[in-house]
């Protein structure tokens, strides 16, 4: 059980998302960086889909109202447990009354606080994620506020009788190192890259537009959030005016409105839209967008469907190996 002492706007309870309800007009929600959430749960021996707190705006401060293990993944926020410094991507044990403070991150966009057992909020349509459009799911269907008290799911008796984390904790190497993907930037450095499948209206764009699409560095504008990222770069021109009826879309779809500046739909996107689709960020890479900050640039790398599936398998293999290694470490401490 924890008490929120301070939070910026839009800290929400998220799990891996509410899949399977798009046909009812209910978007997926879920963690913007699903890999960080998954790793937090692995560190604590939680169920893979246990809910955690996504913290996009810092600082953030909580008090532990009972002793528990916790993990911090995602953005490195210079976190402290009372005065003890906590390294990034780390799990630790907190005693009752201790205070956890997350500061402003130097890089990356979102931190994830995971608690042993996972957060105890009601499942709605199979998920504990906060649905911001419908104001349901998560904690009372809304972002967290000061003085909110959140409980964790009690573990089955005997499952984890005591902490499986040593006093100083342990951590994992950030996945940006285990699953690296960068592309050349215009100023000679590298920038975040995401792999993209051409989508329905891809062939409707001019050769020049497609050249720009694959080779430009696309800047994430301030009009970007969990709903979607509006990008800024060269104007993408279609061969003719494209008019579509609204149709189903999923997180990752890259739409091009009449301005020619693309929008990547993300976790809180509405489940339908009518803008033409030039591509789709593959499922395996959406977490990279979740950690891209406003003002940073991204590149699109073209892949085939087979390569997209292979990327997803690589991500699952990475998590499986991580789970095995963490299980060994937890056994050694328990």
């Amino acid at each position: 059980m924890i008490e929120i002492l301070a939070t910026g706007a839009l800290s929400t309870v998220q799990d891996l998302g509410r899949t399977g309800s798009l046909r009812f007009g209910v978007g997926t929600s879920g963690a913007m960086d699903d890999l960080a959430l998954a790793i937090g749960n692995i560190l604590l021996g939680n169920e893979p889909n246990a809910a955690a707190i996504e913290v996009p705006i810092l600082p953030f401060k909580i008090r532990f109202l009972e002793a528990t293990d916790f993990a911090l993944t995602g953005a490195d926020c210079g976190a402290r447990l009372d005065t003890q410094e906590i390294p990034p991507w780390w799990c630790l044990h907190a005693d009752k009354g201790q205070i956890l403070t997350l500061g402003v991150p130097k890089s990356d966009a979102r931190a994830y606080l995971t608690l042993a057992g996972g957060l105890d909020v009601a499942e709605v349509l199979g998920s504990r994620s906060t649905q911001m459009r419908g104001n349901f799911g998560g904690f009372e269907g809304r972002p967290l506020k000061k003085n909110d008290i959140l409980r964790t799911i009690a573990r089955a008796p005997g499952l984890t009788p005591h902490s499986a984390i040593s006093a100083s904790g342990f951590g994992v190497r950030p996945p940006a190192f285990g699953l690296p993907l960068r592309a050349a930037s215009q100023n000679g450095t590298t920038t975040t890259a995401v792999r993209v499948l051409p989508a329905g209206e891809y062939e409707s764009y001019t050769e020049g537009a497609l050249e720009h699409f694959w080779h430009a560095c696309w800047k994430v504008t301030p009009q970007s959030d969990r709903y979607g990222y509006r990008l800024e770069g060269p104007v993408l021109e279609a061969k003719t005016v494209i008019e579509k009826r609204s149709h189903g879309i999923v997180p990752g779809v890259i739409q091009v409105p009449q301005s020619g500046q693309p929008i990547i739909q993300l976790r809180d996107a509405q489940p339908s839209g009518g803008y033409p689709k030039i591509g789709t960020v593959i499922e395996a890479d959406i977490w990279r967008l979740g950690q891209t900050r406003i003002g940073e640039s991204i590149r699109f790398l073209k892949v085939s469907y087979e390569e997209a599936v292979a990327a997803l398998e690589e991500k699952q293999r990475y998590l499986m190996q991580l789970r095995q290694a963490v299980q060994l470490q937890r056994k050694a401490n328990s």
Partner: protein, 132 residues
């Protein structure tokens, strides 16, 4: 210790290029050794004891690749000459994708004994702390 756990250990060794892995639990002791030879810095036979004549030696709590810097940070934990307090994080040991902390055993001025990115064995001296 069952077959699946042994297999996990072997997978971990292969993934990390580890030559020797020794695991001790209350009722179990397992030592696994890979065929190929790999240079490992062996621990010194006579380790200085903690707080020996105004100094304390911090030794490796396990095996792994040692570093004084977390990969996502520019600053180092345990810089040469830094004033540290008992319990401070001085560095990390990486085993495959896992990180184990190396903590200060005393308060004082830090002297490094091992370079970064070196594979070290259990109990290898990593730092000397001059207690002031």
């Amino acid at each position: 210790m069952n077959y699946d756990e042994l297999r996990e250990l072997i997978t971990l060794m292969e993934a990390s290029d580890l030559h020797v892995l020794e695991l001790r639990r209350p009722a179990v002791k397992v030592r696994l050794e890979m065929d190929q030879q790999m240079p490992v810095i062996e621990p010194q036979s006579a380790l200085p004891t903690a707080h020996d004549k105004g100094r304390s030696v911090v030794t490796a709590p396990g095996f792994g690749i040692f570093s004084t810097r977390h990969p996502s940070r520019e600053e180092t934990f345990g810089e040469e000459g830094k004033q540290v307090a008992c319990g401070d994080t001085l560095g990390m040991l990486r085993i495959n994708e896992l990180y184990m902390p190396v903590l200060s055993t005393a308060s004082g001025r830090l002297h490094r004994l091992v370079e970064d990115e070196v594979l070290i064995g259990y109990a290898t001296p990593l730092f000397e702390i001059v207690v002031e």
